[in-house]
Amino acid sequence: MKDPCSQQTIERYLDGELVGGARTEVERHLRQCSRCAGALYALQRQAALIREQLDSAAEQADFSGFDEAVFSKLAASSKASFWERLRERWQGSMIPVLRWAPAAAVLLIVVIWTAPMLIDLNKNRNSTVPPKPIHPQTAALSPGTGNEVVIKSMKYSGQRSMIFTVSPRNTTVIWLVDFDKASRAITKEERQ
């Protein structure tokens, strides 16, 4: 057995945690060692002071109407909204980590949802390969001018067509183009 003079041995003896031979050995030691006997007495007296104070507080407490108060609060709270009950359930969760699980799940979803957008933005910023201009008139739209656009869709309906473009700044522009007129203008320009 450990040194019977040790603090922890005396505390375990006081708390009834020693049994059989170990307990007998400590009792024998206490009869011989006045220092340990005194330390044990101090612990017992301290425990008695704490117990007396808290027991006294409980004796003086007014429990009249206690049961009624508990049941009436239970009745009132049974009418609580679904969200209030859910909040209470999570606040009362015995496993603290579960309280943060919903917030963590939402954060994860947001990160997964926005990640592709962030990657796209980063790619555009870092892109060093300029797109080839298709037509002289697109020179104004060449890379580096900040005016490049992406044609998202084209719908041809005869003479006039709609072109949807999306700029790097996510501005959507709807062009209404009269291809016949545009074609005649280009030809005229080339002749000049």
Binding site: A39, D55, S56, A58, A61, I95
Partner: protein
């Protein structure tokens, strides 16, 4: 008592308010003692006591009988008391008023001693001083040390029962108890003077932390 409690719990689960009332009568003073020991305010302790049984009734379906009813109810009361203390600390950090606090604590202690009308005035004063000293000594402990001291000295739980209540290892209970008692002795020197101090081995916070690391249960 264990099997009686289980029967009452089974009946309460089926909506028998009388059965739950019996459980409340059995344990409300103990729960109040625990709450008062933690928060040192009669009104708050009563609120915590009521809230404990409200929570217990609402979550009765979670009590499977793997532990005793009182360790389960003490766990609820402990968590509520600690929550209350943390809310109070946050409020005090924002709106600290030394005078108001002093008046409140005096009022609380006056309420405790008011019943002693047949006690000699000097004895009443000594008692009040002792209560103040005890409260200060308990307040000097952290929540985790305070609760193990209360569960052991007042509620009389074994190390295993305290460990089950607080979801910690029995070795951690021992080391926290030792730390709590040592600190209480320092604070209560005047009332325990003339008696030998606890063992002179130098033990400090780091040693306690090391012992807790080694003996703590893995967290869920």
């Amino acid at each position: 008592m264990g099997s009686e409690d289980l029967q009452l719990v089974q009946r309460a689960k089926q909506g028998d308010h009388e059965a739950f009332g019996t459980l409340m009568n059995t344990y409300r003073k103990k729960v109040y003692s625990l709450a008062y020991g933690m928060v040192h305010d009669p009104e708050s302790a009563m609120d915590i006591c009521q809230e404990t049984f409200i929570k217990a009734f609402r979550h009765l379906e979670n009590f499977q009988g793997n532990s005793s009813f009182y360790t389960w109810i003490y766990r609820i009361a402990t968590n509520l008391s600690i929550d209350h203390l943390r809310k109070r600390k946050r409020r005090e950090a924002l709106h600290y008023d030394d005078q108001l606090m002093h008046e409140d604590s005096e009022a609380a202690e006056a309420a405790l001693t008011s019943h002693m009308t047949d006690v000699h005035p000097q004895q009443a004063l000594d008692r009040k001083e002792l209560q103040e000293k005890l409260n200060r000594a308990m307040d000097s402990l952290s929540e985790k040390h305070r609760i193990v001291l209360i569960l052991r000295e007042v509620e009389g739980l074994t190390y295993e029962e305290i460990a089950a209540t607080l979801n910690i290892h029995a070795g951690t209970v021992m080391s926290r108890l030792h730390h709590a008692r040592k600190n209480m002795q320092k604070e209560l020197q005047g009332y325990l003077s003339g008696l030998p101090a606890l063992a002179a081995q130098p033990e400090d916070e780091d040693e306690e932390a090391e012992s807790e690391k080694a003996t703590d249960l893995p967290r869920p």
